[in-house]
Amino acid sequence: MMKNRGSLITMTLYLLFLLIPIYWLINMSLKTNTEITSTFSIYPQTFTFANYVTILTDPSWYMGYVNSMIYVVMNTVISITVALPAAYAFSRYSFMGDKHLFFWLLTNRMSPPAVFALPFFQLYSSIGLFDTHIAVALAHCLFNVPLAVWILEGFMRGVPKEIDETAYIDGYSFPRFFIRIFMPLVASGIGVAAFFCFMFSWVELLLSRTLTAVNAKSIAATMTRTVSASGMDWGVLAAAGVLTIIPGALVIYFVRNYIAKGFALGRV
């Protein structure tokens, strides 16, 4: 129970502030376009799923989701795979240039994608990867690999080093120790890192829009071009927005205690 009336009021107001715009989006997605432009109502009067049907049956819409999913999953797999051993090295060993390298990774997480948009376009065009899923997946590695390394390092430093030493004494080789013993111990960290890689790749617009044209066009890019002959298609746009929120909203409950930690790059 809330501790007093003041807190209750504050939290209610704040949560309402957060939820009303989202409610409005859902409301819009369930209206017909004529209703949206002609009448003003706070709930749908002619309740319709037509906007969702449009998205799920029109390839130019649903392929946006498929393309986004493909490059996001590719990116998450690449990021976690390369980040796991590196994070282990950063958490356990000191080696020449480790601090510089760790800092350099951070600068990549922090660098504005706008700086990289044009060079990425030229780089991937010149090696014939323009408009492919792997191009976007690799481009997103720019900020997701450093993110994964930092988050995983934050979790791994919590695992006592004695566990490694005991395992080596028991005759485990490094790969076997890492996969059989260490990875289960940091499973929650891997989950959180994967979630954040997924999220940041899923929400990114600029690079995915610059690097794709038709075959690998992302849902975010599709959504920025919804002006049809009869003006803006608000209903469909709103429905697309709702569908884009769903992946994050589904897993939010499981990562709720780690959201602060993930955004703070494994610190906190």
């Binding site: 957060l18 356990r92 600068t107 922090m110 504005p112 706008a114 990114e204 608000w234 709720r256 602060a260």
Partner: protein, 290 residues
């Protein structure tokens, strides 16, 4: 944790190095190249020295974009940080309601940036939006697509909506780590609510708060998608922040040299702030292990 000296650890780091170098160093070197070269087309480049840098440093366009950017970051920090702390202090400490608040508060953080823009577009338009329509109904002249001030207010409110939860969640994590004994001691001393906040909660939160401020500064400093979707940088140039201006220059007008010089200076600012961030992080780690 004591770390073992072992240079073979480089082999474990190598994959990361290769992947990130491919997507960071090569493009960055391209940018450096463009920034010191000029061209008349046909991929025929010649040395231009620091010409572009001089041009950009004295260009009104960059000054204006930088000014808007700094103003924007300052405003959102001034709103989000106090509001975030306030919300964190009022959050329930445990039980069902704590989870309930956590989940709802995290929701805006995980919405794709372009959808955030779309949500606010739909919410604020005077013809179809709840907010825009209601404001018009009570006689307030509000139109974010025509009026620069309205556009600014909308973007600031949108950013507050989007990111205050992050500050709140980080502060909340800091608050959770304060042992109950501190509060009991304060109670015995009959400390006021304010002194509890000032002398117990704020010092204990200072670390996470610093992280929150730096993160918000960095992210607001490279904001692109939300204003791009909401206002497209307009009306006029009034909400053209650094990233939007840079993309306009590089991809829109294909002014490679100036855009590259612009990028390098932009990147140097980010590098500086990253360094502050890194120093803060390592200092905090050192304090923890003590």
């Amino acid at each position: 944790m004591e770390k073992t000296q072992n240079n073979k650890a480089w082999f474990l780091v190598l994959p990361v190095l290769i992947v990130v170098a491919f997507s960071a160093v090569i493009p960055l070197m391209t940018v450096v190249n463009y920034s010191v070269n000029d061209t008349f087309g046909q991929n025929d480049f010649f040395w231009n020295g620091l010409g572009w840098f001089e041009e950009m440093i004295s260009s009104d366009r960059m000054h204006a974009a930088l000014g808007r950017q700094v103003l924007f970051s300052a405003i959102i920090l001034a709103i989000e940080v106090p509001l975030g702390i306030f919300v964190a202090l009022n959050m329930p400490k445990k039980g069902f309601w704590a989870s309930f608040c956590l989940v709802l508060m995290a929701l805006p953080l995980l919405i794709p940036f372009n959808v955030v823009g779309t949500i606010w577009q739909i919410f604020c338009r005077i013809d179809i939006g709840l907010l825009g329509h209601s404001l018009a109904a009570i006689g307030i002249d509000y139109n974010y697509t025509n009026d620069a001030l309205d556009a600014w207010i909308t973007i600031v409110v949108m950013d507050v909506w989007h990111w205050t939860s992050l500050v709140a969640l980080l502060c909340y994590a800091g608050l959770q780590s304060i042992p109950q004994a501190y509060y009991q001691a304060a109670k015995i001393d009959q400390a006021s609510r304010w002194s509890v906040f000032r002398y117990i909660e704020l010092p204990k939160m200072s670390g996470v708060l610093l992280i929150a401020v730096l993160l918000r500064f960095m992210d607001s400093f490279m904001i692109y998608t939300e204003p791009f979707v909401l206002t497209g940088g307009g009306p006029g140039n009034s909400t053209t922040f650094l990233s939007i201006d840079l993309v306009k220059m590089a991809v829109g007008q294909f002014d490679l040299g100036p855009a590259a010089a612009f990028s390098i200076m932009y990147f140097l600012v980010i590098l500086l702030v990253s360094w502050v961030f890194y120093t803060v992080m390592t200092t905090l780690d050192a304090q923890e292990t003590k």
